[in-house]
Amino acid sequence: MLLKPSNDDICVISYHIGKIIVAVSLCLVLPILTAFVFNEHAPILDFVISLGFSLSLGFLLIILFKTDKELHWMHGMVIVSLSWLILAVLAAIPLYLSGHWHSFLDAVFDAMSGYATTGLTLAQDLDHLSMSHQMWRHLTMFIGGQGVIIVALSFLAAGTGGAFKIYVGEARDEKILPNAIQTAKFIWMISISYLILGTLILGLMAIWEGIAPLRAFFHGAWIFMAAFDTGGFAPQSQNILYYHSFLFEIGTILMMILGIINFKLHFSLWTGNRREIWRDIEMISLTSTILISFFFVAVGLAKAGVYPQAVALFRKGFYHLISGHTGTGYMTLYASQFMQNWTPLALVSLIVAMGLGGAMCSTTGGIKALRIGLVFKAFIQDVRKLMYPESAVLIEKFHHIKDLILEDRQVRSAALIFLAYLGLYLFGAIAGMAYGYPFLESLFESTSAAANVGLSCGITTISMPVVLKLTYIFQMWIGRLEFVAVFTLAGFIIAFFRGK
């Protein structure tokens, strides 16, 4: 029998959503400060309205549904999935008010793209957008990459009892430290340390490449936010091509790779355990898939003869492969060039790389390296079983921070999410084809949205059908949260209407 959620359930969920809204909305102060730095007056109003509206909504939920009831797992999942939707709508307000987005739906598309660290954009005339709005766009990536729940837990540590239950809902089932709040604070500590370092490095690179110092450091910060958080937004419409710089491309490749590493592995590295990087199953899986997919991309591009020089092949082939595999979506090509210049072999290899993604508990999307590694290990184990006597007991081990034994339930869980992602990629591709786009283009854009990548072959434009925009928003949301939280929300809604 389906149980209808009680009033207490509604109170717990609404109260915590209110708290999350308040915590995340406070980040709007940063673009307001940016507006002051650059003497931009009109954008201040956009952000004050958004901040005021968001805080009002958050406070209202806290006041109306105040409760001290304990959080359950179901609450955590519903809170996370609903928070992400509500926050995307709230983050869209200043974007829409800037006048650079054709409709509110387009602004929501970009806000979800930012939070989910996708990088697909429907912004118009990006080159004339204010610095404060640019700050907000990139900040959504920085917040979303670490996770909106991480932000909330860091700000509101004292009042969140069942912190781990909402922490897990955000596709983060690995605790780095014993406590979820300590883990959240550690993730922020790492991210902010890297932000300072990354801004400095990219800022100096930008100055070296001829950009004025103040702009250079802002560009450095934004590019770092979007690279480390594997997002893909850039302050200019040409994305990374704008800089025409090999140096900048190398810099962003390093930041992107830093972003796909598991925060748990970052912790090991920070605590001096550097050997982990060579032993961890995720790193082995990632290195293998990057090398294999690059081999096919290189063969595909070499066949086409578009980039006859090794440097050009590296700057276009390897760069986009890393950008796709890490789920960043940084581009030094125009969207239509993928279909014009890249052979089907290179394109399919890139799509596969996009679908695979980076490490668990990182800022990236997609199937994830750990799951690929586990499914591969299970496959090897099954083959070995066939070769040994029936009575033999085979134990397969793997190293993920510590030595672990491969268990059936791990493989089952990994395989289920693996299949769910494949289904999601296909779902978006079918939606694209339903609107007349060719199969390869539809699959490319769909995988890019669902794996939170952001590379585009040209389908994502303001003129694309509304249903397709909604499909991609849905894919970005469900892809970022890795299904469970969204499925729980669906169950909650069904129980609300049909439960007894």
């Binding site: 080159d127 004339h128 702009r215 200019q236 025409h244 578009v306 440097v311 125009y334």
Partner: protein, 177 residues
């Protein structure tokens, strides 16, 4: 003798006509060279590859000096394309496009590359001739009165709700005691 003179005269005339026609053709082709849109260039990149084209666009972002050369990006309302040119050839830029700044509109004539070998496969143009055809300007910021009203309303609402929340928290704590 007379025929020699006539022949020479005819040759001179013919040469004059050829020079005039060629000059006129060059003048016409320079003056009336159709600038190509960025979309047309990107979509038909292979067709235009290595050809000299004319392109117009607003200079946006930054003028990035690289030694004796410079990178600029010209936005024609559809896309921006990177232009590589000698620093000395760049005319004095007064406005670069950005927030509330319309950049100078430049017209360039140069060689288009669908994937430039000199620049790691970038789609770009190497400019030969470049000129400012329209000066940029600052577009003054205007504060929307309706937005100001909404900003005040929401600010007051936040203060009010914050006060209610603090009172509610105090009551909650007092009841618990």
């Amino acid at each position: 003798m007379g025929t020699d003179k006539d022949g020479l005269f005819l040759k001179h005339r013919l040469a004059q006509i050829v020079v005039l026609v060629t000059g006129f053709w060059l003048l016409v082709s320079v003056c009336y060279a159709q600038s190509i849109s960025s979309t047309a260039l990107i979509k038909n990149a292979k067709q235009y590859d290595g050809k000299t084209v004319v392109y117009q666009g607003e200079i946006i972002g930054d003028v990035m000096v690289r030694g004796d050369f410079v990178w600029i990006n010209l936005f024609d309302g559809e896309n921006a394309i990177g232009i590589w040119l000698k620093k000395a050839a760049l005319p004095k830029i007064k406005h670069v496009g950005g927030y509330h700044r319309k950049g100078d509109v430049l017209e360039i004539e140069g060689v288009f590359h669908s994937s430039c070998l000199e620049h790691g496969g970038d789609l770009d143009m190497h400019a030969g001739r470049i000129q400012i055809i329209q000066e940029g300007y600052l577009t003054p910021e205007s504060l929307n009165p309706a937005k100001m009203v909404w900003a005040k309303i929401f600010s007051l609402t936040v203060l009010l709700l914050l006060a209610v929340m603090l009172i509610q928290n105090s009551i909650f704590r007092w009841k618990k005691r």
